[in-house]
């Protein structure tokens, strides 16, 4: 995407300020956006850096494509990083068809290795789904479109990461949360007989989705 000339000069001024360390917060955000969207901005950014680098040493000169190549390589490396514990898309049909024992042991090896405490850092964390009504029909009803208060349902800001570093979309995360909500509610109710349950604690972190129409 290319920008009009006026925007471009503005964009370059901001990039220049960023390169010099003078950019304000809002300018930083704009600079990042233009760097992402505008190939010219990336070239300009590289030029500014190159000027600075060459002033310091000729050895630091590099091709404009080097930045992009570095990013591609970085993404590839990130994608191969292991994720210890994470929600995953449903297994492929053929994989599921394996005998239970083999299935379980394979999963045990792959999913439960490593200290749980460390794994916690990789988990998908869903914030409170504290909205909703007593029940819902269908799997993907949007909370907002069903009239829930805008301030109510908040899916966790934390992203969920699938195997292989695939970032699940918020829709997938929300679908997983919706799927889970009635189970959480049923569990809460059953657990209310526990020794340390207080009235109100069965409301905690349970999204009971939308009431029937």
């Amino acid at each position: 995407m290319s920008l009009p000339d006026s925007d471009r000069s503005s964009s370059r001024r901001i990039l220049s300020a960023l390169a010099d360390g003078d950019a304000t917060d809002s300018e930083v955000a704009r600079a990042f956006q233009s760097w992402r969207d505008d190939p010219d901005a990336r070239a300009s950014w590289h030029a500014y850096q190159l000027i600075g680098d060459v002033l310091r040493s000729d050895d630091l000169a590099s091709e404009p494509a080097a930045d992009a190549a570095f990013l591609v390589a970085l993404r590839a490396r990130l994608a191969t990083e292991p994720v210890v514990l994470a929600p995953q898309p449903r297994m492929q049909e053929e994989a599921v068809a394996q005998p239970v024992a083999a299935n379980a042991s394979a999963r045990t090896r792959t999913r439960w290795q490593g200290p749980i405490a460390m794994a916690a850092g990789f988990l998908a964390v869903i914030g409170v789904l504290n909205v909703a009504g007593p029940f819902r029909h269908g799997g993907n009803a949007s909370l907002a479109s069903n009239g829930a208060p805008a301030s109510g349902p908040v899916l966790a800001s934390t992203s969920s990461v699938g195997d292989g570093g695939v970032v699940l979309t918020s829709a997938q995360t929300k679908a997983a949360a919706d799927q889970l909500a009635p189970y959480l509610a049923a569990h809460r109710q059953s657990a209310m007989s526990g020794p340390f349950q207080m009235p109100g604690s069965d409301l905690r972190n349970v999204s009971l989705v939308q009431p029937a129409k």
Partner: protein
């Protein structure tokens, strides 16, 4: 701490008095019945007979005597009885707050004990408006914006399974009790207890109980010293005058609402064609029962989805294992989800879909899933 000196006497007295009442207690329903029949423990009486406790003494029992940081089965039992008793007997109104680190949810809670009737009203203060009204063992949830009232039975909180089954005796095998320096919580002087897990199959719990009455004020769930979730009162008035009218008035607000009744059927895992391999289960967890229940039950949902729920407890925390037929349109993603201390694991195994939920480390949920097998 003068009151603490008489602890053992005062805790034991109502329990002894109540033993005589046990046969008159209606047999627990369904799956709970088996647990109840097992109970020979005198604590059963304390758990089931709060009313008789009131008859014996209006004064709450004093905190169990303690050396300060010691631990013993006797101490723990005393604390459990005291906390449970206070939860049933007290009249209180307060604001209950649950914090998971990523979110804070609060509700207004009123709990009243009038004679043999227990009344409770909980109004959610965040999100969708709803009121939960409990009268003895029935709970109604009113959703005013949807004009829907959901009525469901609640297992009497007095059942307190760990005490009823006598399995609380085993709790010290899995948790160390540490009585810690008292603190001020929600405007009250509170006794602070640490239940420290002895293995990796459970989380630690820090518990604050009102020093004067024993009412639970706050519970933190911790793992390796890190708080995963905190639930408790931000403010609470204990010893208020019972206000049953507040509950009944709200009940009538539901007149004209569409009523949905949710039932659970008590059953047994084995009767449903399943069994758990004891050797694969995490240590200390015993079954509390098994029910068939509807999920996502709607007013006009004739073909409601029913799942089997097997409930397990180590006396302190619970794990639910849900078993149902796999449905591709509903069961969208496998894996682990964490909300505060609550971990949920979903997995497809052949044509079945398993969901395990509990305030336990994820490896424990995996153990439950692997322990499940078809009965031959």
């Amino acid at each position: 701490m003068g009151a603490a000196l008489s602890t053992s006497l005062r805790v034991a007295a109502p329990a002894r008095a109540l033993r005589a009442h046990v046969p008159r207690v209606p047999r627990a329903r369904g799956a709970w019945a088996r647990v109840s029949r097992l109970s020979g423990a005198l604590v059963c009486a304390a758990a089931l007979g709060a009313g008789a406790v009131r008859a014996q003494s209006q004064k709450p029992p004093a905190p169990p005597q303690s050396t300060g940081s010691g631990e013993s089965a006797g101490d723990l039992h005393g604390w459990l009885v005291r906390i449970h008793d206070a939860a049933e007997r007290s009249n209180y109104v307060g604001t209950f707050v649950n914090s998971t680190g990523t979110s804070v949810v609060s509700s207004r809670v009123g709990h009243y004990s009038e004679g043999k009737t227990t009344l409770e009203r909980v109004d959610a203060l965040d999100g969708e408006p709803r009121s939960m009204l409990r009268i003895n063992d029935e709970e109604r949830t009113l959703w005013p914006r949807y004009r829907v009232a959901v009525i469901e039975p609640v297992d009497p909180r007095a059942s307190f399974p760990a005490l009823v089954s006598g399995s609380e005796k085993h709790i010290p095998e899995f948790y160390e009790l540490h009585v810690q320096p008292s603190e001020r919580i929600a405007g009250h002087d509170a006794d602070r207890l640490l239940l420290k897990a002895r293995d990796d199959s459970r989380f630690d719990r820090v518990i604050w109980a009102d020093h004067a009455t024993g009412l639970l004020l706050r519970v933190d769930v911790q793992a390796a010293g890190r708080t995963l979730e905190s639930s408790g009162f931000s403010d609470v008035n204990i010893g208020v005058k019972p206000d049953g009218a507040a509950v009944y008035a709200e009940l009538h607000r539901g007149d004209g609402y569409h009523v949905v009744r949710r039932e659970v059927q008590h059953t047994q895992l084995e009767a449903e064609g399943w069994t758990m391999q004891a050797a694969l289960l995490p240590a200390g967890f015993q079954t509390l029962g098994c029910v068939r229940r509807a999920l996502n039950q709607g007013a006009d949902d004739a073909g409601q989805l029913r799942v089997l729920q097997s409930i397990w407890s180590d006396g302190i925390t619970h794990v639910s294992l849900f078993i149902e037929t796999f449905q591709p349109q509903r069961h969208l993603s496998e894996g682990l989800t964490v909300i505060g201390a609550t971990h949920s694991l979903t997995r497809r195994v052949n044509d079945m879909w398993l969901t395990a939920v509990g305030d336990v480390p994820p490896a424990v949920l995996d153990q439950f899933m692997r322990a499940l097998q078809r009965k031959n």
